[in-house]
């Protein structure tokens, strides 16, 4: 097992492995996304209370779940790069940040659009949505910090520290926002409370969550490959790949 972990450190090997995984993962992701959407949009019956607007759940909840998981992936990669000094973990962290930010943005946008028909206003200071907004700020903080360093090595380390601090703080932020929400509006309906969702609606949701996880992995691997080429553009193996691409 240890040699595998060690080999993860060599860029060309990582580049090749990522390419191999992507070759079969991208089609699976697309199939899962399309089938999940079609199933959720067309074949499930509307919610008796919210009518058809509930169908947005099939993109809002998966995006929110994967966005939060994405932050933990970024923080763990940061921890690995700081503790074991593996340069490749920096690349994973740098690749995960924009994907996580985009998914958080999707979750916020679909949450707001879903709020309009159910509550009549675009923006609702609901506990989950507020925490999601703070998560977006955390992501943008990491991306902004990375862009402000000239030396990319130091940028990776600094972002690792920030994402670790973020990881420690996320449960605190989520709990305090939940608690804050209950303080100011004790009696209001819980918008995102999981009303007992019956199985016909649950299965497409699970499929969509899986599809979004696969999507996150695809984007992460693609960003990683691009980042690897960028950082190692002076080395031989990149020149060889550029050659094949040029002649191919």
């Amino acid at each position: 097992m240890w040699t595998f972990f060690h080999k993860l450190g060599s860029p060309p090997w990582l580049y090749a492995i990522a390419g191999a995984i992507l070759r079969w993962l991208v089609p699976i992701t697309l199939i899962a996304l399309i089938s999940g959407t079609v199933w959720g949009l067309l074949f499930t019956s509307p919610d008796f209370r919210q009518g058809n607007s509930y169908r947005i759940i099939y993109i809002h909840v998966p995006a929110a779940v994967v966005a939060l998981a994405g932050y933990y992936v970024m923080a763990i990669a940061g921890a690995i790069s700081l503790i074991w000094r593996m340069k490749m973990a920096d690349v994973v962290m740098k690749a995960a940040a924009p994907v996580g930010a985009a998914l958080t943005f999707i979750a916020l946008l679909t949450g707001a659009i879903w709020g309009k028909p159910t509550w009549g206003t675009w923006w609702v200071w609901d506990a989950r949505i507020t925490s999601m907004l703070i998560l977006l700020f955390l992501y943008l903080g990491v991306v902004a910090l990375y862009e402000s360093f000239d030396n990319k090595e130091a940028a990776g380390k600094a972002c690792a520290v920030l994402s670790l601090v973020g990881m420690v703080n996320i449960p605190i932020v989520y709990k305090s926002v939940d608690w804050w929400y209950s303080l100011h509006q004790p009696a209001s309906i819980k918008f995102t409370g999981e009303s007992t969702i019956d199985s016909s609606m649950l299965y497409p949701l699970l499929l969509m969550i899986a599809a979004f996880y696969a999507l996150f992995t695809c984007c992460l691997l693609m960003n990683m490959r691009a980042e690897l080429l960028q950082r190692e553009s002076r080395t031989q193996w990149v020149k060889r790949i550029a050659d094949e691409k040029g002649r191919g």
Binding site: L82, I134, L140, E153, L164, V165
Partner: protein, 228 residues
């Protein structure tokens, strides 16, 4: 003469920081002046009606304290970084964890601590009931300490950057939010008469967590910034 052990060095760095601030005591007034001016903005914006102001007073006081702390936390390491003293601190054999803690303690003593003492004056201007003043001071004392520690992390990460000032707020504000929630809730509870104890306890818990973990991040951040 053997090098001082950690406690002596902690005290020496603390005294050095306080001495440097005492050389220009006027600068200690800047955050307080900022606090005063922003408090004055709210009646201008929200209207002078006493009851409406009193309703918002806890939140406004806490948000203003938070912003003034954010403004000053950028300069915690900046001056020592510019003239090279921070490099010498890095090479000292004593643990950097405690040296950065003494920097933050000095920063808190000269900003947050004074802010907490001065805040009742402005609370009365916002018609905060007298009964809530004690809780306000206590919550600000605990809260600004946590804010200084978190701001120190942002300062350590951006000290090497030329234009780090604006960036620090983007990095650190999300971590300030829980402190604001419980700080304002404590004062709100005192205003409505319910015991503020539990909220202050949570602030205390946050403070102990920050004291234990923040200097770790600050020390690593400083090593990274100085290495670039």
């Amino acid at each position: 003469m053997s090098p001082p052990h950690t406690g002596q060095f902690f005290a020496r760095v603390l005294c050095r920081q306080l001495l440097l601030v005492m050389r220009r005591p006027i600068e200690m007034g800047n955050p307080l002046l900022f606090f005063a001016m922003v408090i004055v903005l709210f009646p201008l914006g929200l209207g002078p009606a006493p009851d409406k102001l009193a309703n918002f007073a806890p939140g406004l006081l806490w948000i203003t304290a938070l912003l003034s702390n954010l403004l000053t936390s950028d300069a915690v390491f900046r001056s020592d970084f510019d003239d090279g003293s921070l490099e010498q601190l890095m090479l000292a054999p004593q643990p950097l964890f405690l040296s950065s803690l003494s920097y933050i303690l000095a920063h808190w003593l000269t900003t947050g601590f004074l802010l907490a003492l001065v805040s009742p004056v402005f609370a009365l201007m916002l018609n905060l009931p007298i009964s809530a003043l004690g809780t306000l001071i206590l919550s600000l004392l605990l809260g600004t300490a946590v804010l200084s520690l978190l701001g120190g992390i942002g300062a350590a990460l951006t000290v090497g950057l030329k234009r780090g000032g604006m960036l620090i707020s983007l990095l650190i504000l999300p971590f300030y939010m829980p402190v604001l929630i419980f700080g304002a809730a404590a004062v709100q509870a005192a205003v409505t008469g319910t015991p503020p104890g539990p909220y202050l306890a949570i602030l205390g818990a946050m403070l102990s967590l920050a004291i234990a973990l923040a200097p770790l991040a600050i020390a690593t951040g400083l090593r990274i910034s100085l290495d670039a």
